[in-house]
């Protein structure tokens, strides 16, 4: 793999630069004390070697396939595309043959010259490639083989050019940094600045990814709304997708299920989590706390699919035995809003308690002292001083828990059933937006049909909802935050 070698070459150059910088500044020390410590001069060179070289390497690796693809497509021309096929299908054949040739060469079944001189007239390419473990769907046409050979040639040229460019850049960085290495040069400030830029780049990459996710959703959502009217999507109270066409895709039954399950989950999680947090931060002794807090947080580490199994195998049957046909007769099957809601509530307890605990601990001791000093009891102090002071943070924690509840999928899939319906009975099976996104995308549906694309519209709705909730949480926290010294 030339790319791996290239990375090692750049790293080696960086190391050499680091050592060279140190040595040079050490030997120049006679001219007076250098501005910075020797390591900074080393780092200055190493950064100048690595950063531009790796940036170019990454960009090149991203851009090259597009360029090669474009060039080969242009060379193929329209006459290479058989009737009933598309240029995309032909190009995927080309890529497959090219990869097959690569595999054959690397396994030693074919010489490199042989691979580029192959002719369909003389060789059965399909059989030769099958020997190398690459199965092709049909016989290879001369155009496809030719295109594949062009593809390989272009790629090889690109790789060679890239290696030269990256190595040259790394060397240039080395020389540049080495020339700079004089006692007057402010290496410490330069390294500091470079570090700042790298951290900034990391932060903006995360933000850009979020924006990218939104745009990928927007594109498909628009495509969905061009196939299915938005007024139906937001106005209909029926969800009955049928892949034969003529489906009704109203979001309300799903939104209702989402909200119902989330409300039940929060009704369970908020009081229990909050009381647990108050106990842990105000009443528990240090030994109890050291033991109980990690135990509670273990709950947060359990994968949600395991909670789903718990709902399916334990909570559902338990509820059914009480509320089912043998009991009160309200419940038809183990999968119900109540089952999923209860289990989701249990999942959210550590979320609420851990965040609230931190927030309650941040309330200054002076407020507690002030309240005790006035003759208040512990619970009076908590109720009237500590919780009001911690309220904005607690509200923020609850809203964060709510966005998790809205986005939860596995527990719903296993615990709440798959029936989209509008019902007030918490013992009915219902489903949520997230669970339906999964089921719409994991079928055999044509990806261009509204039944599959609706998943993106649902995802977008969910994104907007949770975003709104998070913004609201931030607003509450900012507005009511007490400024402590």
């Amino acid at each position: 793999m030339p790319v791996t070698w290239l990375v090692f070459i750049v790293l080696a150059l960086a190391l050499a630069g680091f050592v060279a910088g140190r040595v040079r500044i050490d030997s120049a020390a006679g001219a007076g004390r250098p501005h910075s410590l020797p390591n900074y001069y080393g780092w200055n060179i190493a950064i100048k070697v690595m950063v531009p070289a790796f940036l170019v390497l990454i960009c090149w690796l991203i851009v090259q396939p597009f360029v090669v693809n474009g060039a080969v497509t242009a060379r193929l021309g329209d006459n290479a595309v058989p009737d009933g096929s598309t240029i995309g299908l032909v190009m995927s054949d080309v890529r497959r043959v090219a990869e097959g040739l690569d595999a054959a060469v690397s396994q030693g079944l074919m010489g490199a010259d042989q691979a580029s001189d192959l002719r369909t007239e003389f060789t059965n390419v399909r059989d030769r490639l099958a020997e190398a473990g690459v199965a092709l769907g049909s016989n290879v046409t001369p155009q496809v083989l030719g295109a594949a050979q062009t593809w390989r040639a272009l790629n090889a040229n690109g790789m060679l050019l890239m290696s030269v460019a990256v190595t040259a850049l790394a060397l240039a960085g080395l020389v540049w940094g080495y020339v700079q290495t004089t006692p007057d040069f402010r290496a410490r400030n330069t390294v500091e600045n470079a570090l700042r830029i790298m951290l900034l780049a990391a932060a903006s990459l995360a933000i850009l990814t979020t924006i990218g996710i939104v745009f990928s959703l927007i594109g498909n959502t628009i495509k969905f709304f061009s196939l299915y009217p938005a007024s139906e999507f937001f106005g209909s109270f029926t969800w009955s997708p049928s892949f034969g066409g003529g489906s009704e895709l109203g979001i309300w039954p799903l939104l209702w299920g989402t909200l119902y399950i989330s409300v039940i989950a929060l009704t369970v999680a908020v009081p229990i989590g909050l009381f647990a947090a108050v106990y842990l931060s105000e009443y528990a002794g240090p030994r109890m706390r050291a033991w109980a807090k990690p135990m509670l947080e273990v709950l947060a580490g359990i994968p949600t699919i395991v909670y789903g199994l718990f709902a399916l195998l334990t909570v559902g049957p338990l509820l059914l035995s009480v509320f089912g046909r043998d009991g009160l007769g309200w419940m038809q099957a183990g999968t119900a809003v109540m089952t999923a809601g209860l289990v989701m509530g249990i999942m959210l307890i550590p979320f609420v308690s851990s965040l609230s605990d931190d927030i309650i601990n941040a309330v200054p001791q002076s407020l507690r002292d002030g309240s005790y000093g006035l003759g208040a009891t512990k619970s009076e102090t908590i109720k009237q001083v500590i919780l009001p002071a911690a309220l904005p943070g607690i509200v923020g924690a609850i809203l964060l828990a709510a966005s998790r509840a809205i986005g939860e999928t596995m527990i719903v899939v296993l615990g709440a059933g798959a029936a989209a319906r509008l019902s007030l009975n918490p013992f009915d099976a219902m489903t949520t937006v997230t669970a339906k996104i999964v089921s719409q995308l994991t079928g055999d549906a044509d990806f261009a049909s509204p039944e599959a694309l609706v998943a993106f519209a649902l995802g977008m709705t969910l994104f907007v909802m949770t975003l709104g909730l998070n913004v609201f949480a931030l607003y509450i926290v900012r507005k009511y935050r007490e400024q402590y010294e």
Partner: protein
């Protein structure tokens, strides 16, 4: 700071409010207070002075059992309020703290309105039967805290929005509102500027008419200005206790003299 002339004190034969006998305080293995015995008088300002870490704040916090909230703290000996042992099992520390109020070093208003800050204690202790009575108690406390005129138009504003000096006077009003018999003040002016300090000191002098006030201070001028009795603590011992004028002009213990003349501390 200006040096006020020592006040002509008029300590008559007054009743003892708080009596401490052979009090020992331990923080874990540290012996923080050693054999302290002292009689604090009613309707008198008593100041505790001494270098940092000498135990004066610790001893102050024993007087209303605030040290109960610290796990590793252990108190031995006898402390009585009006002849009643406050560390006896039957005594409810919560009731005790209503009788022995406390003002802290840093102003610590609750994140509530000015009105609710003052009404907090009276509400907890059920001192008002209706809103009108509560209003009256709050106004009286704020007047006694010498802050009524500054806040009467904005009782609904948050207490945390006041200036440092106003916050401390609010905290004093809050403590006064529960009608305590003793008021403990732990360096109440250390976070305040000279003007706010002067206001609080004036207030302390007025409070003396009704309460027994105990004040911990690092400022010897302040002790001289506001108190009639002074106790000097050093390394956990009560070195000397007497009339403020006597302590500052004619101390009997060489350690006291060294401290007030600035040689130790």
């Amino acid at each position: 700071m200006y040096d006020a002339p020592l006040r002509k004190t008029d300590v008559e034969a007054q009743t003892t409010k708080i009596a401490a006998r052979d009090v020992q305080v331990y923080y874990g293995d540290t012996h923080a207070i050693k054999d302290v015995s002292v009689d604090l008088l009613d309707k008198t300002v008593t100041s505790f002075i001494g270098p940092s870490g000498c135990g004066k704040s610790t001893f102050l916090r024993c007087l209303n059992r605030m040290n109960d909230t610290i796990d590793i703290c252990r108190v031995e000996g006898l402390i009585s309020l009006d002849g009643q042992d406050i560390y006896e099992k039957r005594v409810d520390p919560v009731q005790l703290r209503a009788k022995v109020g406390m003002v802290f070093q840093k102003p610590n208003p609750f994140p509530k309105s000015i009105y609710d800050n003052v009404a907090y204690g009276p509400k907890i202790h059920g001192m008002a039967r209706n809103k009108a009575e509560l209003d009256e108690i709050v106004e009286k406390a704020l007047r006694r805290g010498a802050i009524w005129d500054e806040v009467k138009d904005r009782l609904d504003a948050p207490g945390t929005g006041l200036s440092g000096g106003q916050q401390q006077r609010l905290c004093i009003a809050r403590a006064v509102a529960t009608e305590p018999e003793v008021l403990l003040m732990d360096e109440p002016c250390s976070a305040l500027d000279p003007i706010a300090t002067a206001q609080v000191e004036e207030l302390i002098d007025e409070l003396r008419e009704q309460y027994s006030v105990v004040i911990v201070t690092h400022s010897m001028q302040q002790a001289a200005r506001v108190s009639q009795k002074t106790a000097f603590f050093h390394l956990g011992n009560l070195v000397e206790y007497g009339e403020t004028s006597q302590i500052f002009t004619n101390p009997t213990d060489p350690r006291t003299e060294s401290y007030i003349t600035g040689r130790i501390g």
